[in-house]
């Protein structure tokens, strides 16, 4: 709890922005859904033959899982892409059903005798609706709005996966960092927001109670004004776009690198929109192509294998050339590499590395062989290895590694959970493992990376990718991105990651300090 409060305190400004985005998303989508759902509901209540298909369609839309719906929407023109607009479309789809249903239920609940009297008194159909049916159905409609808003607050957290911002940013960031505090920083305000919105609408509904005629118009006007303001605000938020939109995928290193790009651009006087925490390589790439984002940091090996479906390669320059050409064909420019390679790293305890003078994997292979012989004469224990399941199984994992370096252990390597291997190594349960070259835990746990001197592992050089048109439009942006070339070593990246993951610092603060470094 104190951690959560500390996190909230240190992220006040950002949280206010995210909360604002969240409120706008929900309010605007509910407003649109009401504008669609209420007239549809009236139509369906009037014509029972239309009621079945309308409600059926809304029901169907409701059953699409939200992530899948976002996935469907991304490639669509006009309503698709990434960002606020797509999120609004998806949230609206979800909000329509409860509003539609409650409108139908409310209208069907009006006593037929009352409607008959109204008709017989000479009210026109429009007057019957406005003076009799609408006020009598309003409590039901308000309850539908409440349901829609509560669903919307929950679903809007998922909108973060397509770069619409909102409190979901913290939930996804927290999931990526396996940090419950950050998850709570998103989930708790979202839950409170849902409760508050529900209570506010309940109060508005109470005011709208037919018995308080003076309050009724005030309440309805207030709700309409609020929703309209939110819709306008969200319209302006999408219209009043910054010079550039910076994206990132949804793990700590990506968020740090996105922040790094953003601050580098801002230092050259450009305005930047941040779409950090996008839901993965495919979404980030799609967003770049569709113009939802203008620049993000990708890894050359990931582009080669995941985007362009080529086999992996360990040749840094060759991969860079290939990927650069493939991107160019898509109107995307691969910018100079930042200076580190986020690939597998063979790790040992640094005290062992120092004591035994090991710098490379070849050194390690020699040591292992030596010790395997030495065990015949000395009481020293043999080297014990432990790896993640995937690394053990993949042909380009342990099998290839041991072939490339002639590395063989006395005992078969242990299979371990990826999240535990660093601590197991530090605690002396194993002596060697394969980890992530930029993991923040390496330095903080006193581990050392052995150089892949035979270039066995494929390269994953971090390299910004940007829309060529934007670079032409803003030459200063190209300059800013180029200025980062070669500036971040693997050790730098590990420190940055640790500052965020291990020390719970705000990525923006960590990056600012890094850029201020002489």
């Amino acid at each position: 709890m104190t951690e959560l409060l500390a996190f909230i305190a240190s992220h006040r400004a950002e949280m206010a922005t995210r909360l604002g985005e969240h409120v706008v998303l929900v309010a605007a989508s509910t407003a649109i859904a009401a504008a669609v759902g209420i007239p549809l509901g009236i139509l369906a209540a009037r014509r029972p033959s239309l009621s079945r298909p309308i409600v059926g369609l809304a029901n169907l839309a409701q059953t699409i899982p939200s992530l899948a719906l976002f996935g469907f929407l991304i490639p669509l023109p006009l309503i698709g892409g990434i960002g606020t607009r797509t999120a609004l479309v998806a949230l609206t789809v979800y909000a329509v059903l409860p509003i539609l249903r409650s409108t139908i239920t409310g209208l069907q609940g009006v006593p037929p005798a009352v409607v008959e009297c109204a008709v017989a008194m000479g009210l026109t159909p429009r007057q019957v609706l406005r003076q009799v049916e609408w006020p009598l159905a309003l409590p039901s409609i308000v309850s539908g709005l409440r349901v829609a808003v509560v669903i919307g607050v929950g679903t809007a957290t998922i909108a973060s996966a397509i770069g619409a911002g909102g409190l979901g940013d913290y939930i996804f960031r927290g999931l990526a960092m396996v940090d419950a505090t950050v998850i709570l920083a998103g989930a708790l305000p979202a839950a409170l927001l849902a409760l508050a919105a529900d209570a506010a609408l309940a109060a508005a509904g109470h005011l709208a109670d037919a018995r308080r005629r003076s309050g009724r118009h005030v309440a309805v006007l207030a709700v309409v004004a609020l929703l309209a303001a939110a819709a306008v605000w969200s319209g302006r938020a999408t219209a009043g776009r910054a010079d550039l939109v910076v994206g990132s995928k949804n793990f700590t290193e990506q968020v740090v690198l996105g922040e790094l790009l953003a601050q580098a651009l801002e230092r050259r006087g450009l305005t930047v929109d941040r779409r950090l925490n996008l839901g993965g390589t495919a979404i980030a790439h799609e967003a770049l192509l569709s113009g939802g984002i203008d620049v993000y940091v990708e890894y050359t090996g990931t582009s080669l294998t995941a985007i362009f479906n080529e086999p992996p390669s360990a040749d840094s320059d060759a991969v860079f050339q290939t990927v650069r050409e493939r991107y160019a064909a898509l109107g995307v420019t691969l910018m100079p590499r930042l200076g580190f390679n986020n690939t597998f790293a063979i790790l040992v305890r640094s005290e062992d590395a120092k004591r035994l003078g090991m710098k490379t994997v070849s050194d390690l292979a020699g040591m292992v062989r030596l010790k395997a012989d030495a065990t015949l004469t000395r009481a020293d224990a043999p080297w014990r290895a432990g790896f993640g399941y995937e690394f053990l199984e993949r042909p380009d994992g342990f099998k290839g590694l041991s072939a490339a370096y002639g590395l063989s252990f006395a005992a078969a390597p242990r299979v371990m959970d990826l999240n535990l291997i660093y601590r197991a190594l530090a605690a002396g349960e194993i002596d060697v493992t394969a980890g992530d070259a930029t993991s923040g835990l390496i330095e903080s746990l006193g581990l050392a990376v052995l150089e892949d001197d035979r270039r066995y592992f494929p390269v994953y050089d971090a390299s910004p990718v940007a829309r060529a048109s934007v670079l032409l439009q803003y030459p200063v942006a190209a300059e800013a991105i180029r200025s980062l070339a070669g500036r971040i070593s693997a050790a730098d990246m590990r420190r940055l990651n640790f500052a965020v993951d291990g020390e719970k610092q705000d990525p923006a603060v960590v990056v600012r300090a890094f850029l201020d470094r002489p």
């Binding site: 006593p111 005798a113 009352v114 008959e116 009297c117 109204a118 008709v119 017989a120 008194m121 000479g122 009210l123 026109t124 007057q127 003076q131 009799v132 006020p135 009598l136 037919a210 018995r211 005629r213």
Partner: protein
């Protein structure tokens, strides 16, 4: 006036595809109260709903003031035709005063005239304006609701009044009070009234003419005294209930 208040000429009608009325012909003169009597399903309510075009006939004509209802603008026709149903059908979401003001406001009367009219109507049906004007319909007793419903139907001073079992849901004492009230109001206003009831005693007490419907056919239409003297067994069956009641009391 160019013709009788209401005239049915060879009218046949159906509801939900089922024939309900067969060749009904009868006349309601101005200032007369005609009671439509018959068992449930005999077609009384259907005949009533033809008058203000809640329904149109399949065949035959309904004339209001000599003009075929098909030629009347339904909205204009309904605004000059008062309508009262069982349990009054008051709008539950507005006050008694606002219920009464509905049609005058639709007719765009000035606010002061509406408010004067509402108070006059409440006085007319025996509801103290200061007490009842701002009450909600569900705060009224059944009898008070029915009085308010009658007042609402009279609001825009319609020459014609349609009443569908208006006193059906009331206890006998309240019903008796309201009968007296109705006769007093009608004695003052002389509206043309069509009153649907299944209660022959009520019909005898309130109506100038009694029309008896049986399976969608008009089998009698005469003064209460003559209907009472009818030897048609179907009419006598309806009267029988009255006799039994009279014997019991």
């Amino acid at each position: 006036m160019p013709g009788p208040a209401v005239q049915f000429a060879e009218v046949s009608a159906s509801r939900g595809g089922r024939p309900v009325l067969h060749h009904v012909s009868m006349t309601v003169n101005h200032g007369q109260t005609v009671a439509l009597v018959g068992r449930s399903g005999s077609g009384k309510t259907t005949l009533l709903r033809l008058v203000n075009r809640l329904l149109d006939p399949d065949a035959g004509d309904v004339l209001v003031d000599g003009k075929n209802t098909r030629d009347w603008d339904p909205i204009a026709l309904r605004r000059r035709t008062g309508y009262v149903i069982q349990d009054a059908g008051l709008f539950p979401h507005v006050t008694v005063g606002d219920n009464l003001a509905t049609v005058p406001r639709l007719l765009a009367w000035p606010a002061t005239r509406v408010s004067v009219r509402v108070d006059a109507l409440l006085n007319l049906v025996g509801l103290e304006p200061a007490v009842f004007r701002d009450r909600w319909p569900d705060e009224l007793s059944g009898g008070q609701r029915q009085r308010a419903g009658l007042a609402r139907a009279l609001a825009a001073d319609p020459p014609l009044l349609l009443m569908d079992e208006p006193f059906g849901a009331l206890d006998p004492i309240t019903k008796g009070e309201l009968h007296a009230e109705f006769l007093r109001v009608q004695g003052a206003l002389h509206r043309s009234v069509i009153l649907v009831t299944h209660d022959m005693a009520e019909a005898c007490a309130l109506a100038d003419q009694i029309a008896v419907l049986h399976d969608g056919e008009l089998i009698a239409c005469d003064t209460p005294a003559n209907v009472r003297a009818s030897d048609d067994p179907r009419v006598r069956a309806l009267m029988g209930i009255v006799r039994l009641k009279a014997d019991a009391s």
